[in-house]
Symmetry: C2
Subunit: 181 residues, 2 copies
Amino acid sequence: MSLSSFEDSKALFVRRWGEMGGYWGINRTMAEIHALLFVSTKPICTDDVMELLQVSRGNASMNLRSLVDWGLIDRIHLRGDRKEYFVCRTDVWQMFETILKQRRRREVEPIIETIAHCREMVTGSDPIATGDDSGETATYKKRLDEMQDFLHAVGTVADLLVKVGPKRIGDISKMMMKLAG
Amino acid sequence: MSLSSFEDSKALFVRRWGEMGGYWGINRTMAEIHALLFVSTKPICTDDVMELLQVSRGNASMNLRSLVDWGLIDRIHLRGDRKEYFVCRTDVWQMFETILKQRRRREVEPIIETIAHCREMVTGSDPIATGDDSGETATYKKRLDEMQDFLHAVGTVADLLVKVGPKRIGDISKMMMKLAG
DNA sequence: CGAAACTTTCAATACTCTCTGAAATTAAGA
DNA sequence: TCTTAATTTCAGAGAGTATTGAAAGTTTCG
């Protein structure tokens, strides 16, 4: 194994992680910076990011800050150096938990709330009295309820998955396999 | 409940579903059309979509086709009518399975493959002979492996979740709760 | 076949998100 | 305090997506 294949390997990972970021609503540069820190054993500063990813200072700064805000990386200070450095929180399960929490808050909770609200709007009064076709609203209500139940179910499983963590993941698989028959 | 509150409720759901689509890398119009079909008990045609969502014929046509390609909606024909109509596959668990399958193929598999490739690039030869810092590559390898394991674990659980379906979801929660406890 | 009804395509345009780079701000050391 | 290093901000440029609308294509039926 040559030194260059080590560097090449890391570069490949960074590129791919960046590409994937796009699919997940995360901008490419942010994902690449994250990958860079994930595969780096040493802390990295803004200038390193600029050099390695060929992006502007502003871009590097903004995205590093976003990553800190998301809780995916940390700022650190090296003694005898005025610059700020950054390191990745490398525990993948913790990483997952962090992302899960944020995305759920921003992307799942609002839809759950909206469904609840939609549900209220069509709940209560007598459909016949209002001349409403009760068959139609009944179907609508059912679909909303099923979606709501589903979203809750997935949320619960995701939470538990994180709680259970990497150690017992095998146990879970086995059990679910039994249930799935 | 008035007729208008029924319509308002559906409109609210459509708007929110569209907004959320953005977060998930799905364009707003596509998500809105999907929502429209999800809350509609009757089949809907291109002109309905144009009218209800205020979009052009081209836009409606393109996005309807994408939804058919994804397997989220179906084309149908109504007797005595030349137009094509569309209906949503309303089973949310099936919907989830469909989306899961597609996104995994496009967004998870490639990163898993890349990690495997990255891993190969730094596997094998003697680090000391090549003057490589074995501590650094060892850390790198470990991180790649952890990420790989994690991605596989999540994939497995997601698959099983779909297999188990809505009926036993309660059982799963209980079991995981015990493990997590 | 030919006309009418309907659908798809795609070049041009509008829009949204990302990035740059230099100015403003903040922090550290003399 | 002043000077210098480092960081942040943000208006404008650029890149990438989504949308329109009209022309081309397809299907249905007399």
